[in-house]
Amino acid sequence: MTSSKPAMLSDLAFHMLLALGDGPSHGYAIGKAVEEQSGGRLDPTTGALYQALRRLTEDGLIAEVDGPKDADSRRRYFTLTASGRKAAATEAGRLDALVRTARKRRLFPQRA
């Protein structure tokens, strides 16, 4: 679906992909991880979280997988797809490039 050129990821979507970097996870845990990663800046409502999960699934960046056997049967587990990894990497690269530019212009402390 997203063969030609991956779209620019939204802030929330990028954080969600990052949250799945450690392996499959479910809605509540993804939300919690997003909140922690962003230092509380992002705290999606349940509605927003699942809307984003659906969109990422539709775009083929994540896919649903079976959860552990002992998990709450209502929980749905998601994992990164290959194109999801690629999109996250592209976004990280974009941010990295921005950070390097910022350093060059002395807007950001140099590496220690």
Binding site: T46, L49, Y50
Partner: protein
């Protein structure tokens, strides 16, 4: 959590299908983790707002997503119009979430006002605008009469003789019918049940034009004397008692011991003449029976294009010729001499009576509440706008078009109004359930009132208008330069801003005062109505009705025995002080009346003696009812047992017929029609007592009807041998020392012990009877009081909010003044004075408006002038005090500031 599931299913069905349970689980986990009131409140608010955003994006967002996918192919991702709108909405939602106090206050205020409006709108829409569920119902008229010489303006109803003349001769109507309401005992599978029956001429079907849902309506043959009897069931009786069995058609049912074939079932909404009718039976009358007696109600359908005035003129002409139409019936001549008048009213007016006024009044009141709520939210919006002056000024200075800015505010106002509308809808839904339960029974179609598509459209319209109003408020204000200028760090705010705010505030005060005055007038009317002495003591009295099967009880002696037996058993029950019976309770219509001859008086041919209601009562009736005997003695059990020809008359009767003469010992007789041979015999009764008047129609009856009470053993049996009440049905009254309704089961047992086939109906207390008589006023009063309280609270919040804001804007100025040695008391009084001025202006306008609107409310008041100065003054003072307190609280806070803190504030 199940609420969330339900809301989600409504807001975003696709998402709910896909992830519903998972989302619920996630939310549940979050809920468990968020301990405490405030985090949980935050969750509820955020999720609710998100649901609204989801609802929007689920419906319009697919286009956005499709667009977005296309954009991926384009190098520059250019946001489409819809996408921008989506973004704006999301941003607006975020902005609102960042100001939860503002958001909650606005949404609740709007929700309350929209909810109240929607509920009353639904009510008025159903009850007033469209009360009669018959085709072309505006052509239906009531056939009612009055008499000039008897000084009865209306309410005499009609007679079969008049009906036949109208039906056969009047060209302005295409059909006419007469009907009356009574009761019958149904015995089905051994279980007796008292039914409400309507007796109607077969022509009623043609007049109302409502065909039965099942089977057929009556034929002309079934409406002529001697024709076959037939019954048409109401939908609810058919459903509940006969399990909706379609084979009921053609089967016989037993009514008052007579088997009658069921020929039809009416549709569910059919409720003529009222919703409590269980069965319709044919009235069997013919023109040969003569003029007849007043009693049956009449209804007719005008020909297309004929006006009510034309019909009235024609009917009045026909009435003049009625003596010639019935030459053999002296009643016709006598009645024509009383100068009969045709009272032309549409059936709609007759059904609604003065209900309409009250309802329009309530609708106007909730309209005012909506206005007050809008003014309040507008003020909140203004405050908020000012806090964001800089943001707006910069946007504008950077060249944001007014349109863009408009969208910026409108997205917020639409979200707020949308949420307010959603909450309003649920409030309306709940309020309607209460209203339908508690509303007065004389509101037509009340049971059909519900939130329908029209009401929902109304909510949508009100919400959109509200949103447009608030959204445009920030745009009213001047140019970009002005805005930038204003947003500078001034220590005072501009005059213009205060002007708008004060205008809104003053309007709120004025509206609140109008509502306060209206509701206080209603409360006073209600008090006056309740202060009326009904002539009997309604405390701790149980009442119920019994009808005797006419095949089993034929003579009056049989009937008197069974009634006396029941009274004796009731009186012996524990907790019962006394018991008695009457053919007709106070505040009940449809009881016997006749003109009463006084012995020794001459009545020239063609004139009628005074009219009196007639009631047959058991021994000790007046004692049980708590009706005071003014002169002489009451009717005793001994009178009943010995069939003593004695009567007790009411004060009104004594005044009319005997003036200053003592009526005790005089004799009266119920006027009787002449026998076929021309002779007339009267049955003379001796007056032994005079009792207080009791009302027949309403508590505030200006002119009580004269009444005659006789021992029940003097009543008629099954055969109506003379004009007198019949003891076929009887109301029992039990005065108790325990809560009256607790006697119910025992009373049932007592009746069953006498005859297991007797059905008890209308278990009630006399207090309920009195309450029902004032139900209309109670209903209007409670709703008006609710509207007034809401507007008072909203007004107070408005004044408090605006004063707080003004104080906060002037904190640094106040600080400077305090630092320079100003007295805190002086500062408080200055701020209070400012608010007081606005309030005073509002009160002045409100008083003018209330006095101008007094004509609208006058007709629903009782015993109080619509411009009662005491009430006007009291409400104005109350409002002034409340307003001053609302100003004083923030003012005092300002004056108590330490100067250093106040100066640092800016």
């Amino acid at each position: 959590m199940s609420i969330y599931r339900r809301l989600l299913r409504i807001a975003a069905p696709a998402l709910a299908r896909e992830y519903g349970p998972a989302m619920e689980e996630t939310l549940a986990t979050r809920w468990r983790e968020a301990r405490g009131v405030s985090p949980r409140t935050r969750i509820v608010m955020r999720e609710l707002l998100m649901l609204i955003a989801l609802a929007w994006s689920e419906r319009f967002g697919s286009r956005v997503r499709a667009q977005r996918r296309q954009q991926r192919l384009v190098e520059h991702s250019k946001a489409g119009a819809m996408d921008t709108l989506g973004q704006e909405l999301r941003q607006a939602a975020r902005r609102l979430l960042r100001a939860p106090a503002f958001t909650v206050a606005s949404v609740l205020t709007l929700g309350l006002a929209i909810g109240a409006n929607t509920a009353i709108f639904a009510l008025v829409q159903r009850v007033v605008v469209n009360p009669l569920p018959y085709p072309e119902s505006d052509r239906l008229i009531e056939l009612d009469h009055g008499s000039v010489t008897m000084k009865v303006a209306s309410g005499m109803s009609t007679t079969p003789g008049i009906y036949f003349i109208y039906r056969d001769r009047a060209r302005s109507i295409e059909s006419a019918a007469v009907y009356s309401v009574g009761a019958r005992t149904l015995i089905e599978r051994g279980e007796p049940e008292r039914l409400r029956a309507a007796f109607a001429t077969p022509s009623l079907g043609a007049v109302l034009r409502v065909p039965p849902a099942l089977g057929r309506w009556f034929t002309e043959e079934e409406g002529t004397p001697g024709g076959p009897l037939a019954a048409v069931l109401s939908h609810s009786l058919w459903t509940w008692r006969f399990n909706g069995d379609r084979s009921i058609i053609g089967r016989g049912i037993v009514l008052d011991g007579v088997s009658i074939d069921v020929i039809g079932v009416m549709p569910a909404g059919f409720a003529f003449p009222d919703p409590r009718i269980d069965v319709w039976l044919p009235t069997q009358i013919s023109r040969a029976q003569g003029f007849g007696f007043f009693g049956p109600q009449g209804v007719a359908r005008l020909r297309d294009g004929v006006s009510l005035d034309t019909a009235r003129a024609e009917f009045q002409g026909l009435l003049a010729g009625i003596a010639d139409a019935y030459p053999d019936d002296p009643k016709a001549t006598a009645n024509v001499r009383t100068k009969l008048t045709f009272v032309g009213r549409t059936l709609k007016d007759a059904t609604l009576g003065n209900v309409t006024r009250g309802l329009w009044l309530i609708l106007a009141a909730v309209g005012v509440v909506l206005f007050v709520a809008c003014a309040n939210v507008a003020n909140l919006f203004l405050v908020r706008t000012e806090l964001r002056q800089r943001e707006v000024a910069i946007r504008r200075a950077l060249g944001a078009a007014r349109l863009g800015l408009g969208r910026y505010f409108f997205t917020e106002s639409f979200l707020l109004a949308g949420a307010g509308g959603a909450i309003g809808l649920s409030i309306a839904w709940a309020a309607l359930r209460v209203l339908v339960q508690a509303g007065p029974t004389n509101l037509p179609r009340l049971h059909e009132v519900r939130l329908d598509a029209i009401s929902v459209a109304y909510v949508a319209a009100v919400s959109i208008v509200a949103a447009l109003v608030f959204g445009s408020i920030p745009l009213w204000r001047g140019t970009a330069a002005g805005a930038l200028h204003d947003s500078g760090r001034g220590n005072t705010t501009s005059r213009q801003r205060h002007y708008v705010r004060h205008l809104l505030l003053g309007a709120q005060v004025a509206m609140a005062l109008v509502l306060l005055v209206a509701s206080a007038l209603m409360v006073r009317s209600f008090q006056n109505l309740h202060a009326i002495d009904p002539g009997f003591n309604p405390d701790s009295t149980l009442s119920f009705n019994i009808g005797l099967p006419r095949t089993k009880y034929i003579t009056i002696d049989q009937m008197a025995t069974v009634h006396n037996g029941i009274v004796d058993r009731l009186a012996a029950l524990p907790g019962v002080e006394s018991a008695s019976a009457t053919t007709c309770l106070p505040l009940s219509m449809g009881c016997n009346a006749n003109s009463m001859r006084v012995e020794g008086e001459e009545y020239p041919h063609g004139t009628l003696p005074p009219l009196s209601l007639m009631r047959a009562v058991g021994g000790g009736y007046f004692e049980t009812m708590g009706m005071r005997i003014v002169r002489g003695r009451a009717i005793t059990r001994a009178d009943v047992d010995r069939k003593e020809p004695v009567v007790v008359i009411s004060q009104k009767f004594a005044n009319i017929a005997f003036k200053d003469v003592d009526p005790i010992g005089r004799r009266i007789a119920s006027n009787q029609p002449p026998k076929p041979d021309g002779s007339v015999t009267f049955e003379w009764w001796t007056i032994v007592g005079v009792v207080v008047d009791t009302p027949m129609r309403a508590l505030n009856e200006p002119d009580p009807m004269p009444m005659t009470f006789m021992p029940l053993s003097l009543a008629n049996g099954v055969d109506l041998t003379r004009i007198a009440p019949t003891a076929l049905q009887m109301n029992f009254v039990v005065r108790t020392s325990t809560p009256p309704l607790s006697i119910g089961p025992l009373a049932r047992e007592a009746v069953r012990a006498i005859d297991a086939d007797l059905a008890i109906a209308q278990f009630t207390t006399l207090q309920a009877l009195v309450d029902r008589a004032s139900a209309q006023m109670t209903f209007t009063m409670v709703l008006l009081a609710a509207a007034a309280s809401i507007s008072l609270v909203l007004g107070m919040i408005g004044i408090y909010g605006v004063t707080s804001y003004i104080v906060s804007q002037r904190t640094s100025e106040i600080g400077v003044r305090l630092a320079l040695g100003a007295e805190p008391a002086g500062i408080t009084s200055q701020i209070v004075k400012q608010g007081g001025k606005v309030t005073l202006a509002g009160i002045a306008v409100g008083l003018l408006a209330a006095s101008a609107g007094s004509r609208l409310i006058a007709s629903v008041l009782y015993g109080v002038s619509p411009r009662d100065p005491a009430i006007f003054a009291a409400m104005a003072t109350l409002l002034m005090l409340v307003a001053l307190v609302a100003c004083w609280i923030p003012a005092r806070r300002a004056a108590r500031l330490s100067p250093t803190i106040a100066l640092r504030a800016d």
